[in-house]
Symmetry: C2
Subunit: 195 residues, 2 copies
């Protein structure tokens, strides 16, 4: 069983790789493991690259002006996560990424990614598509924040990401939805009654 199997399969959803390229591309990624509560990316430092989660669960969050933590994303097996703002604008990360479970990830540093793009230009296509898909899903999220109330957003969350409810605490889901844990509790209470 190959550690890189799911990674390669993910690539092959969008581009075609020769056997040689498959071997080569692995070399740009390194395996990194984290304990629960370890940080993959730390607020205040430069975000050095992108993570592909092999096993485990992480979340990214930032601190508001009163130091409240706001969860912005979750990621589990076969998801990609990074702080794109830090990477693109070469600024210190405002967000942290932290493991919620013991986690194994493949890490692609910015430098390695540049080498990879030179060695296998096709990979540009993959990351273009990946980024466009992210753009589309962020778009959806903005759209929902403009047009839905908290209950509707929670129902939508359960529909799409319900499988996360067993792996992350509710107060993080509340934060992700842009509400307080207390209010999410009330929403859940109402929903369970009216059914």
């Amino acid at each position: 069983m190959d550690t890189y199997e799911t990674l390669i399969k993910t690539f092959e959803k969008y581009i075609v790789l020769t056997p040689e390229e498959k071997e080569l591309v692995k070399k740009f990624f390194i395996i990194r493991t984290f304990n629960k509560k370890d940080f993959l990316v730390n607020e205040g430092e430069l975000c050095e690259g992108t993570f592909y989660i092999l096993k485990g669960c992480v979340h990214s969050f930032f601190k508001g002006k009163h130091l409240e933590k706001h969860t912005t994303h979750f990621a589990i097996e076969d998801w990609w996560i990074t702080d794109m703002t830090s990477i693109i604008f070469q600024k210190l990360a405002l967000t942290s990424i932290q493991a919620l479970e013991p986690t194994t990830a493949l890490f692609l540093s910015i430098k390695q990614s540049e080498k990879m793009f030179e060695a296998i230009p096709k990979m540009e296509k993959f990351f273009r598509i990946l980024s466009q898909r992210n753009q589309a899903s962020f778009q959806q999220r903005i759209l929902h924040s403009l047009s839905m109330n908290a209950t509707e957003r929670y129902l939508n969350f359960r529909e799409k990401y319900g499988f996360l409810e067993s792996r992350v605490p509710q107060y993080m889901i509340a934060s992700f939805l842009g509400i307080t844990p207390e209010f999410l509790s009330i929403i859940r209470n109402k929903l369970s009654k009216q059914k």
Copy 2:
């Protein structure tokens, strides 16, 4: 004066093109002009490609479940705009894009973009970076919607996009910020008093 001048300059911020490639790449774009209120993309149809605005001003919006319109983006000279969700998932567009002024744009259809990527693979890199920058700015927007109240969001908007205030009606800015026009009016009133 060349219609494509600013387009090529935009490319050259991120990639290097030979003179031949500069000539070639133009061929994949077509010029399209729109009157005020014309639709660049129409809700319910497939979004056929991406627009680069040469002159004018447009906004994209979608309709909520009570048919209220929510403005999601603005675009002016040298900005790109499309419905990425429709393109990526090949679904009918849920958003419309409409001209707020007489507008001239360069249009890159999906088919032409595929041909372009074959002819000039470097363009993959440009669109990867463009999309990553969009991803970063959408990220910022989500972050703000999680951590700022309406007044703070409006102040932030003025800081970054204040130049739009003279070109788009206030009720669209309100919609973009996720509040009602009435409430934006109150915010502006308060801000003008307390200074």
